[in-house]
Assembly symmetry: C2
Homo-oligomer: 311 residues x 2
Amino acid sequence: MVNEMSERADDGFQHRLVTVAQAVERTLASLLGDPLLPGEMFRPVRLMEAMRHASLAGGKRLRPFLVVETAGLFGAQGEGVLRAACAVELVHCYSLVHDDLPAMDDDDLRRGRPAVHKAFDEATAILAGDGLLTYAFDVLADPATHPDARIRADLVLALARAAGMGGMVGGQALDLAAEKAKEPLTHDEILRLQAMKTGALLAVSVRMGALIGGADRAQLQALEHFGRVLGAAFQIADDILDETGTEEQVGKRIGKDADRNKATLVRTLGLEGARQTCDRLVEEAIAALVPFGERADCLRQATSFVASRSS
Amino acid sequence: MVNEMSERADDGFQHRLVTVAQAVERTLASLLGDPLLPGEMFRPVRLMEAMRHASLAGGKRLRPFLVVETAGLFGAQGEGVLRAACAVELVHCYSLVHDDLPAMDDDDLRRGRPAVHKAFDEATAILAGDGLLTYAFDVLADPATHPDARIRADLVLALARAAGMGGMVGGQALDLAAEKAKEPLTHDEILRLQAMKTGALLAVSVRMGALIGGADRAQLQALEHFGRVLGAAFQIADDILDETGTEEQVGKRIGKDADRNKATLVRTLGLEGARQTCDRLVEEAIAALVPFGERADCLRQATSFVASRSS
């Protein structure tokens, strides 16, 4: 399935994905750049280096892409949109730094480079994660992101909910608990865990794009449904890839989930059942984009892309 | 100096301090209460317990007190003010949870109770800290905190700046670096470290109260100056208390700074010099409150209180 679906994503989409990723990289570099800005307090050099190490490692920048493309449905673009997109990525990067810590998943490598706690030290990794998370809200609340304070406050609220105890942090807590539990998780428990741990941040990327674009209630609902289903497709694709992919495709040690006796949807549905579910989710996500016509083609292709490989 | 100044703080102030602390405790308990709220995703039980353990341990709630009393200068009060006050406290509590981690200050006790990483485990402590920090911005951006989105966005921005790499997180990074450095910090470096590590969160408490109260530019400037000087007084009093206080007064193991060969202002100024500087800072802070007349009496007493004992 992986190759077939990758081929479906056409050149225009791939070009757009790379273009947005480059713009995100530039904006992140600028946000995390100068250690001493006018009017600001001093930023400790080593901490900033660790934050840059965590954030400027390249990658597909899928979450920022969803923010940018969803905002683009409504004609919104430019520096403010990129800043909001970077805020989501800062949260994503902080979560990777903390997840990699010895007390958590204990991973020494991240995208083939030393994790922050190896490249620096554990204390610096904790603080760099804290700094990235905090900075995400600084960026969103800054008038440079959007002239309308209502939008800025809504962006902060959306991201905080998705990232917090009812979203990503809560999902990670459930995941750690599941590893220690004697009973394997049920199918529904896995769905909930995945919706919180990874789904929430993908879904909020779409929501934030819609908020910036000024979506009306019906559009917001359609896009939220799209975002949730996209998140579910992403996660089941991840589970499938962990079973079937090569290390090169996955970009991390594979079979890790099986090693840890983690409950995945491939376990509860079987490989074929998981593939069928993934295909159905892709269809459902794409159907949610009908109201947006051709303008949503990039998001449609992003959906197939997300379902075809891990990010 | 400690006793003399404590006596100066009159009964009205002590009563007010306790009343606000109780209201903050109630609001925090409610914010961190029900694990399953309508319309929200599931909140993992153990994570929520850890977050409550970290936040509902009582204490003077000095930062929330500064928010409430500063907002009170302008007649602002009620649930919204308390929510903003709790947001600052959530950030303070998260910082204690992460500071206590083995990779950081490695403290097993906090206010006489097991630190979160001892009462639960290290991974839960990391996540509970992340959850508290994220929730602070959720609370501030929520319309329940203030009807005006501009104020909400300004509160988020102020707190994120004070808590982030240019403030508290950056100060903690400088502190860790100083412990490993061969050369002791200079007097100016200590001042900067302290202004970031503890001063920024105290100063932003005052700033947030002023924002909620709708302070004009001149009032905001006066209060920001007050907040900064108050933060400096707080920290030098802390350094003095670490040299001279009993464990009961300090609420933690004393002489810890000396043990770790930490640079404190008592080292650079001598005990008598530090006391004189502290008294001068108290005078300066109180002078900044002149424009607010009698209404600021509680903040004046808070200044003497802050300078007379650690919190």
